[in-house]
């Protein structure tokens, strides 16, 4: 139980995927200009990452390992994740139009993100078990959501602030992201995983 909690703390804060491991930077910069879209993206990412870590674990353990095909992990993970997300998107679109409105275009967008593939590959590298894999993916997604929503809220205030002309727009966003990353380095050593 403590182990599971440690995995969550480790992925959300200490080894945050965006600010410490620098994965998934494109949605972090791309959809953080408005808080509302950032929330939609966070929900979609949480969903996809958890699902992806589950599927990739199953694929690796029951399909690749028995045949000694570990070298196929990257390509087969991409295939499996893309398939599962696309399929879920279709089902959600049909069965729950309102939920589809919230997740909307974010679902297929996040599918081939490097954070998603990164979680799948890191799970294998760390030899995580079934539950650990899912928790690792879920924690990574929560960390991503936390950072994305914090950053989007900051950027909404920055647009209203009096920024010096050379720093306006993307420049000040990059600088704030860098400072956030520095701040998250403060968590180093909190958990040893």
């Amino acid at each position: 139980m403590v182990d599971y909690l440690l995995i969550l703390v480790s992925t959300v804060l200490v080894n945050n995927f965006v600010l410490v491991q620098f994965l998934g930077l494109c949605p972090f910069m791309g959809v953080s200009s408005r808080l509302e879209t950032a929330m939609g993206m966070s929900l979609a990412t949480t969903f996809v990452l958890t699902l992806a870590s589950l599927c990739s674990y199953l694929t690796y353990t029951y399909l690749l390992e028995p045949f000694g095909l570990e070298f196929l992990q990257t390509i087969s993970f991409i295939l499996v994740i893309a398939f599962v997300v696309q399929f879920t998107e279709m089902v959600v679109h049909k069965t729950s139009p309102l939920l589809h409105k919230v997740l909307g275009i974010f679902l297929p967008l996040i599918t081939t993100n490097c954070a998603v593939l990164g979680v799948a590959l890191l799970n294998i590298k760390k030899a995580n078990g079934f539950i650990e894999s899912i928790l690792y993916g879920f924690g990574a997604a929560i960390g991503f959501s936390l950072v994305l929503i914090l950053f989007a809220a900051m950027r909404e205030r920055i647009t209203a602030a009096d920024v010096p002309a050379p720093f306006k727009g993307a420049a000040i966003a990059m600088i704030s992201a860098g400072i956030m990353s520095l701040a998250f380095m403060g968590f180093t050593g909190l958990v040893a995983i």
Partner: protein, 196 residues
């Protein structure tokens, strides 16, 4: 060398299975247009009257899908609000008085000997229910008229009346139970008639 064949076989198999399932899902879970807007549009009365502040029922359906209040449709009345609340999982709220009140269903009637054939009502009609040409007498296609009142205003000679819909054996239906309780004066007046 053998492992190469196995790898190719497994990948091809994976791709084949996924492709088949996705192809099946594309047909099985096919969605035509924006389903929620169409579903809302089906519940609206299609009078195209514009009392909700939108140019027609479809734009209002889109606005509801984007979060507008569901109580702005007087022709639909309480029944439409209830149906919309059911569909969207919202609270039932009373009709917004700002957009008009629920009235009995009417259709337009043109007093044909007074009509001067100006075509102004034809242009105003949102559902093309008025038949006629310039300097010719106009008339209303009863089956098409939605009773939206939009043709009354532009008529220069005021020859359009809104008449209540006549109940025929084809259009008669049981009264809604809630209605009977609300208008409890109905059986009472019958009683007084009998006494007289």
């Amino acid at each position: 060398m053998e492992i190469l064949y196995v790898a190719v076989l497994i990948l091809a198999l994976l791709a084949l299975v996924f492709g088949a399932v996705l192809g099946f899902a594309a047909i099985r879970f096919k969605v035509d247009g924006d389903p929620i807007v169409d579903q809302i549009d089906n519940l609206l009365p299609q009078t195209q009257c514009g009392q909700c502040g939108h140019p027609g029922c479809k734009p209002y359906a889109e606005a509801i899908a984007n979060g507008e209040a569901i109580n702005r449709c007087p022709p639909g009345g309480e029944a439409t609000i209830k149906a919309l609340a059911d569909l969207l999982d919202l609270e039932v709220i009373p009709l917004d008085a700002e957009h008009g009140s629920e009235a009995i269903r009417t259709i337009a009637y043109i007093r044909e000997d007074e009509c001067i054939g100006c075509t102004k009502c034809i242009q105003a009609c949102p559902v093309d229910a008025i038949l006629g040409a310039a300097k010719q007498m106009h008339t209303v296609i009863v089956d098409e008229c939605t009773g939206c009142d939009l043709c009354v205003e532009p008529c220069p000679v005021d020859c359009i009346d809104m008449l209540p819909v006549q109940v025929t054996p084809g259009s008669w239906h049981w009264q809604h139970p809630g209605h009977v309780i609300a208008t409890s004066s109905l059986p009472l007046s019958h009683g007084t008639n009998d006494n007289a």
